[in-house]
């Protein structure tokens, strides 16, 4: 048993090592005075200074965060509804078609989504900028969130909702007291994956943005021809450390608070189950 434990720990350590390897690589070279991502010459904080002094870059980071948080939240709401809609559909054929429609945006390459959204927005007459970027991010984040929520709904025993209804619960109560708590882990997974999609998107944002509005991905990709400077590494390092601090700090804070109060702490921690 002991051996088995060691082995499984080793496996997880390996998975985490691979997941974080490129990030540590980036972070390491953000201190390189040599200016490149190979051959570490000497330690410097110049790139960090550069980032802090670059107001334009900081505004872009703020834009990116705003769009990511808002769009993921809205997309998750729509996705909850969407998953319910798919679940409610009786006939298998209708269900599959709905699911296929849901997945169109995942399978379409970003350029196509971006170009067609751009055409759409200019036809409707939406001014390109914050609103158009937000709408697009909501749009392409919905399907992945649906995919994360759906299995929880499908695994839910139908007798559960029936029982609740027999006991006289209103539709609203069934939704808020029975269904939502059960699919909560899916909702959180959906939100986090939507966040990933939003933070990573370059092509769609590029097409639908305008009037000086920019996000970090667009900025980084457009620097590729000139060569991405290490100040971007420095910026990523700061964002990464900040997020980790936030996540770990928040986790242990809530854990301690709840330990004092309830026996089952995990249920109330704001992370996916």
């Amino acid at each position: 048993m002991r051996n088995k434990n060691g082995f499984s720990n080793l496996y997880l350590v390996l998975v985490f090592a691979v997941l974080y390897a490129p990030i540590f690589y980036l972070m390491y070279y953000s201190f390189n005075s040599g200016g490149t991502m190979h051959e570490f010459e000497g330690f410097t904080l110049d790139y960090y200074r550069e980032v802090i002094q670059d107001t334009r870059l900081i505004i872009i980071v703020i834009n990116t965060l705003v769009i990511a948080l808002l769009s993921s939240a809205i997309a998750t709401l729509i996705a909850i509804v969407g998953a319910l809609a798919i679940q409610r559909t009786r006939s298998r054929r209708a269900k599959n078609s709905l699911l296929s429609l849901n997945n169109v945006l995942i399978v379409s390459p970003d350029v196509i989504i971006g170009a067609s959204f751009l055409i759409l927005f200019t036809i409707v007459g939406i001014k390109l900028g914050f609103v158009s970027v937000l709408l697009s991010h909501v749009a392409f984040s919905v399907p992945i969130a649906v995919l994360m929520i759906l299995p929880h709904l499908q695994d839910m025993s139908p007798t559960l909702t029936d029982a609740a209804r027999d006991l006289g619960a209103s539709r609203r109560d069934v939704l808020t007291k029975v269904i939502l708590p059960i699919i909560k882990p899916g909702i959180f997974s959906g939100f986090f994956m939507a966040l990933t999609y939003s933070l990573d998107d370059f092509a769609v944002t590029f097409f639908v943005t305008g009037n000086g509005y920019s996000t970090l991905s667009v900025e980084i990709y457009s620097r590729a021809r000139q060569g991405v400077s290490l100040s971007i590494n420095a910026l990523s390092t700061m964002i990464f450390l900040f997020t980790i601090l936030l996540v770990v700090g928040y986790y242990f804070l809530t854990l301690r608070k709840h330990r004092a109060r309830i026996a089952e702490p995990v249920a109330e921690v704001g992370v996916p189950r």
Binding site: V66, I126, I220, R225
Partner: protein
């Protein structure tokens, strides 16, 4: 349920707080004012201090927006929905924009500094008489090589790339015009050749290059060559300068059969909102001290003659990046081949890639 609602509210509050912060910073920087000028350019392709300098000199606030490829930029300008006052596309994109009537003619009387531009780089086929565009940076396409790894080979001719000693040691840039142009040049045809027999001959010749080609890559070619992943690369001179800046072992040469010379020019798109400011900006960028400072930051070759004199001699006298007229006269710009021919070039290039 309560937890879901709470989390959702927390996210909304965080987002709005950030939004407020962003708006505050924007207004502090003056980005939300009325007297603004939107510049659409490659990322990190201008000395940022110059933008500040321009702002204090004219009182105009500059909004700097970026693109990562000419084609993507074209789609944006074509589709509209947002205004750009100055755009910096490459030569063939300018020809296309001109054809599609996306550009405003420049008022040369508002650009007195235009006299600074070397006459070699004026009045080229993509914009006769410089009616719509003014050169920003220029360069060539050539071979960058690592003498340590190629052991005494010379690269004065494109044909040297076919040498079997370079097996699996060449990096190509992922561009149909560049790679096909290289093959056409090596056969002593023009980079703009449209003769089907010549094109097929070029493809046949390219397929023979396959064993030597290690990979066909994009902008990351700079990083790969600087890291010595391969001995030889076909690159734009601007990239070559950056690579050699990182790794001084490498050397760059433009083969004598001829090659391409390229330009990034400043233009004013038809949808511009601040045409006057756009002219002011272009004229500002043509000033010798400004152009010199910019060239120093970006590292590409400037077409500005007095600016060149302000640059250190080791830069301005480097014939690899500032070749004499005898060489530049042999180089050609890419003509606008029309959609059909361009598609054909790409098709041939795709065949070459799939053949690998």
């Amino acid at each position: 349920m309560k937890q879901l609602v709470n989390t959702f509210l927390a996210i909304l509050i965080a987002a709005f707080a950030l939004m407020y912060l962003g708006a505050w910073m924007n207004s502090n920087e003056g980005y939300s004012g009325t007297n603004t000028l939107t510049i659409y350019n490659w990322g990190d392709y201008i000395e940022p201090e110059l933008l500040k300098e321009f702002e204090t000199e004219t009182g105009i606030t500059v909004i700097y927006q970026t693109f990562d490829s000419n084609e993507a930029m074209l789609t944006k300008v074509e589709q509209g929905g947002t205004t750009f006052d100055v755009v910096i596309p490459s030569d063939y994109a300018i020809a296309k924009m001109r054809e599609e009537k996306l550009l405003l003619p420049l008022d040369h009387s508002k650009l007195p500094n235009l006299v600074n531009i070397d006459s070699r780089f004026m009045d080229l086929s993509f914009d006769p008489g410089n009616e719509y565009s003014v050169p920003y940076f220029w360069g060539t396409v050539g071979i960058i090589y690592n003498p340590e790894m190629t052991k005494g080979m010379t690269f004065d001719s494109w044909d040297s790339l076919w040498d079997s000693r370079l097996k699996n040691n060449i990096l190509l840039v992922d561009g149909a015009r560049e790679v096909m142009g290289m093959a056409l040049n090596s056969l002593h045809y023009s980079v703009n050749d449209q003769n089907e027999a010549h094109l097929q001959a070029a493809l046949t010749k390219l397929n023979k290059l396959s064993p030597n080609v290690k990979a066909i890559v994009g902008d990351e070619i700079k990083m790969l060559l600087a890291n010595e992943e391969a001995a030889v690369g076909i690159v734009w001179s601007g990239d070559a300068a950056e690579i050699m800046d990182e790794n001084d072992k490498l050397d760059y040469v433009v083969p004598q059969e001829g090659s391409n010379k390229w330009f990034d020019n400043m233009v004013i798109p038809r949808t511009a909102a601040n045409v006057d400011g756009a002219h002011q900006f272009i004229n500002f960028m043509l000033r010798p001290d400004v152009a010199a400072k910019n060239a120093e930051y970006v590292g590409y070759s400037t077409p500005n003659v007095p600016a060149l004199k302000l640059l250190p001699a080791e830069v301005s006298e480097d014939t690899r990046f500032y070749p004499p007229a005898s060489l530049t006269d042999r180089l050609e710009v890419y003509d606008n081949l029309g959609k059909r021919m361009l598609a054909h070039y790409n098709e041939l290039f795709l065949k070459f890639k799939m053949n690998k």
